[in-house]
């Protein structure tokens, strides 16, 4: 694990975002109007369940955001390769490259090849995989029992860890509520707690079992098969999590300052400030988003190929492109929020408490920061959560059109893009596509459900009755 830490641009921004989020959490904890809605989110069962799922995704994304160049151990010059903490954790997955396609949990390649037998003859057959199921003597008969055994081990491990987690949680709760372990456990299991801990535990158990089960199988097999160049698809799908999260969060982070500042200024000051800001966003908005992104990315490509020597490694280059994509996506998506905030600021500037502040001689900046900003924060938050899933989905489409992330970067869009060429194959190669779709679907579904809950909690006016 020795090596030199490499901080990519997006890494830095992700951790900045993390700091901002934690800071906001601390700030919100002291303010009931912010704590209240979050409490409502946590108390809703859907909210709790999705938060647990998202936590697993975020954990993978964060682990995948600590990059370093592994030294060769002798203090010599490090190689150009940059790996992440996540890569070292799942080490094997990354290195175990096959020759070409293989189906999930297969022991042989998906295509026939000429195999040279020890006696010199060549036969045309499906060759054994170099890694997948390589420990089996006779894959045809041993594979199924082996899979079952590994599954059982994985599930048991997962359950054991879940049990530990559950016990720790119950003890913590019992300590806080000053009740004894038994009654706390009963309360929890009957779902009689204010915060739906039962849902949280159930979801955690499910996720942990999945994690351990897949870990067991992935160590010996290619859980989701391999792609054209023989890379493990499960690994690709996991690595794509970071890309999806980065697009979904950093884009918003990039656009927020401009959207908030300009939106509030336009609504509060009105007059020529308003005209100018409205002009700016109408102009930007009138260019079809995809085309603006396409134009910008094409220009970036030209720039990058003309200045190829400025990038130390492929990873860095891909990372810059990712960041650039976030920025350009931000440029195309800030206008909606800006317009919303402008309208809200227009309303708020006429509200009595702002008038009262003016009557009390409070300055413009203080009015904006103390009276307007806190009262539009919930709109910002809702739109951030709302945008997330749309951005994750957009990445897939953009990468499909080749104006998304760098083709060398792992992303669900790239996986789909490369897999669709194989749809015409007979028999069909479906697993890359399926893996990308499922990983993406779970993330987006969780985000969508969470955004519903958040919207309900922060904006009761729009609450839809159940």
């Amino acid at each position: 694990m020795s090596g030199e830490l490499v901080v990519l641009w997006t890494d830095a921004l992700i951790f900045l975002l993390l700091v901002v989020a934690v800071g906001f959490g601390v700030y919100a904890a002291g303010r009931p109007h912010l704590r209240g809605p979050w409490g409502a989110v946590v108390r809703s069962r859907v909210g709790m369940g999705t938060l647990v799922v998202l936590a697993f995704y975020v954990a993978v994304g964060l682990l995948d955001s600590i990059h370093f160049q592994p030294g060769d151990g002798n203090g010599g010059p490090a190689g150009a390769e940059v790996v992440s903490l996540f890569d070292t954790l799942v080490g094997g997955l990354r290195a175990r490259q096959e020759k070409s396609y293989s189906a999930p949990l297969a022991t042989r390649l998906y295509t026939k090849e000429n195999i040279e037998l020890p006696d010199g003859r060549t036969v045309r057959d499906y060759p054994r995989l170099r890694y997948g199921g390589a420990h089996l003597q006779d894959p045809e008969s041993e594979r199924l029992p082996d899979l079952l055994r590994l599954s059982a081990v994985g599930i048991v491990k997962g359950l054991v860890v879940s049990l530990v987690v559950a016990n720790v949680l119950i003890m913590l709760l019992a300590g806080r509520n000053r009740s004894d372990y038994g009654s706390q456990a009963r309360q929890l299991l009957r779902g009689r707690t204010g915060i739906p801990w039962r849902v949280a535990l159930g979801m955690t158990t499910l996720m942990l079992v999945l994690v351990f089960w897949s870990a067991e199988l992935a160590a010996k097999y290619h859980l989701l098969g391999t792609d054209k160049v023989g890379e493990d698809v499960f690994y690709q799908a996991l690595k794509s999590i970071r890309t999806g999260l980065v697009i979904g969060t950093l884009t918003t982070l990039v656009m927020l300052p401009a959207a908030i500042l300009l939106g509030i200024m336009a609504g509060y000051f009105r007059g020529w400030v308003d005209d100018l800001i409205q002009y700016t966003y109408t102009t930007l908005n009138s260019i079809p988003g995809v085309l603006l992104i396409a134009a910008a990315i094409l220009m970036l490509q030209i720039y990058m190929s003309n200045h190829a020597d400025e990038f130390n490694s492929l990873v860095e280059r891909a990372d810059l492109r990712l960041l650039f994509l976030c920025i350009i996506l931000g440029v195309t998506s800030w206008t909606g929020l800006c317009r919303l905030l402008r309208g809200e600021a227009l309303k708020l500037r006429e509200v009595d408490y702002v008038q009262a502040a003016t009557a009390l001689g409070v300055g413009h900046m203080t009015i904006i920061t103390r009276h307007i900003l806190p009262n539009v924060l919930h709109i910002v938050l809702i739109s951030v959560v709302l945008d997330f899933s749309g951005l994750v989905l957009a990445e897939a489409v953009l990468s499909y059109v080749n104006i998304g992330v760098d083709p060398t970067m792992n992303s669900w869009g790239n996986m789909i893009n490369s897999a669709r060429l194989e749809m015409a194959r007979e028999p069909i190669v479906w697993w890359s596509l399926a893996a990308a779709m499922i990983f993406m679907f779970v993330l987006v579904l969780a985000a969508n459900l969470l955004s519903d809950v958040v919207q309900d909690a922060f904006n009761p006016r729009l609450r839809n009755r159940r």
Binding site: Y279, T283, S286, M299, N306, V401, R465
Partner: protein
């Protein structure tokens, strides 16, 4: 009313100039025509002569803004900005980097785009409104709850999946319609059915959920209570009162996208091999044909602004409260 429209049209001019300047900056200043030429001719070992020829063939060899060499008005008109950017205002799109007339291509390709986009819009509207009304009628029951779950799940699925899955199921397994392609006249129908169905299905999640919210918001209002106090039955309340009011945001939301239907759908058209403007754009992006991308950016902006204008006008038509005087 006329004064209002005239004012809105005048207001569109500075925006289009803004778009024009922006694309000019993006395509000719951030990256020079030399860069583009090098990109097209291959990066390594390109002779300056080859670059010059490439630029000359496409008219990129002029100065950007001011031509010292020319005479009189030519000093301003014989420039890239005038020839390539300002001419867009006359809808003179010039020719593509591969030498085709963009204007002609657009006029040919917009019909297949419309052939998909209009049915998707209309059928989608019908399906979404019907489903949303149904949910509103059964609000606060299990039908409502599970419908919302279904809708959220549907909107969490990538559009790519609907297309790939639909193609695989309908065309490859069931062999109902061809996977992709296009034909002229009525023969095109068999190629259009699947993309339209997929377009509608892909839009149900977000669309129906949005309409449901609109309906439920209206249902809470005072005038609905008045309607019930009259003794109207629930379906009549929904159709006569709630739907009428909720149609205002729905219709204006539709009007704003109407002009953009010309632009076609990027993904659908390229998957189904339909020669519309969407696939035209994608091909241009993939072959890095900047002339086409530039033309499409401008066209898109014009259509968007037209959409805004139509929205404002449609408000005055459907909402008696909005009167322009």
């Amino acid at each position: 009313m006329m004064a209002y429209i005239v004012r809105r049209v005048l207001y569109a001019i500075p925006i289009l100039i803004g778009v024009n300047v922006l694309t000019f900056l993006l395509f000719f200043v951030v990256n020079s025509p030399d860069d583009m030429a090098r990109m097209h001719l291959g990066m390594k070992r390109v002779t300056p002569e080859a670059i010059q020829t490439w630029k000359q063939e496409r008219g990129y060899d002029r100065p950007l803004l001011y031509n010292d060499a020319a005479e009189g008005v030519g000093r301003l008109t014989d420039t890239i900005f005038f020839q390539k950017s300002l001419k867009l205002f006359q809808f003179d799109f010039g020719s593509s980097d591969s030498g085709r007339d963009i204007g002609y291509d657009i006029s040919q390709r917009m019909w297949p785009s419309l052939a998909i986009a209009i049915p998707v819009l209309l059928v989608g509207l019908l399906v979404n409104i019907t489903y949303a009304l149904l949910i509103a009628f059964f609000r606060a029951t299990y039908i409502d709850f599970w419908s919302v779950v279904l809708l959220v799940a549907m909107m969490s699925i990538s559009g790519l999946f609907y297309i790939i899955g639909g193609q695989y199921l309908v065309s490859k397994l069931l062999h109902l319609v061809p996977i992709s392609g296009y034909d002229t006249g009525w023969a095109a129908a068999k190629f259009l059915v699947l993309p339209v169905v997929i377009g509608v299905v892909g839009g149900v999640g977000a669309g129906t959920r949005w309409y449901r919210t609109l309906f439920l918001e209206e249902i809470d209002k005072d005038y609905v209570r008045t309607a019930r106090a009259k003794g109207l039955s629930e379906p009549r309340v929904l159709f006569r009162h709630v739907l009428r009011n909720a149609l205002i945001p729905i219709l204006t939301g539709v009007v704003v996208v109407l002009p953009l239907l010309f632009m076609g759908s990027l993904i659908t058209e390229s998957f189904f091999g339909i020669p519309g403007l969407g696939s035209y754009t994608i091909d241009a992006i993939n072959s890095q044909d900047f002339a086409i991308v530039r033309a499409m950016v401008f066209l898109g902006s014009v259509l968007y602004i037209l959409g805004l204008l139509l929205t404002d006008i449609s408000y005055t038509l459907v909402d008696p409260r909005v009167r322009l005087s």
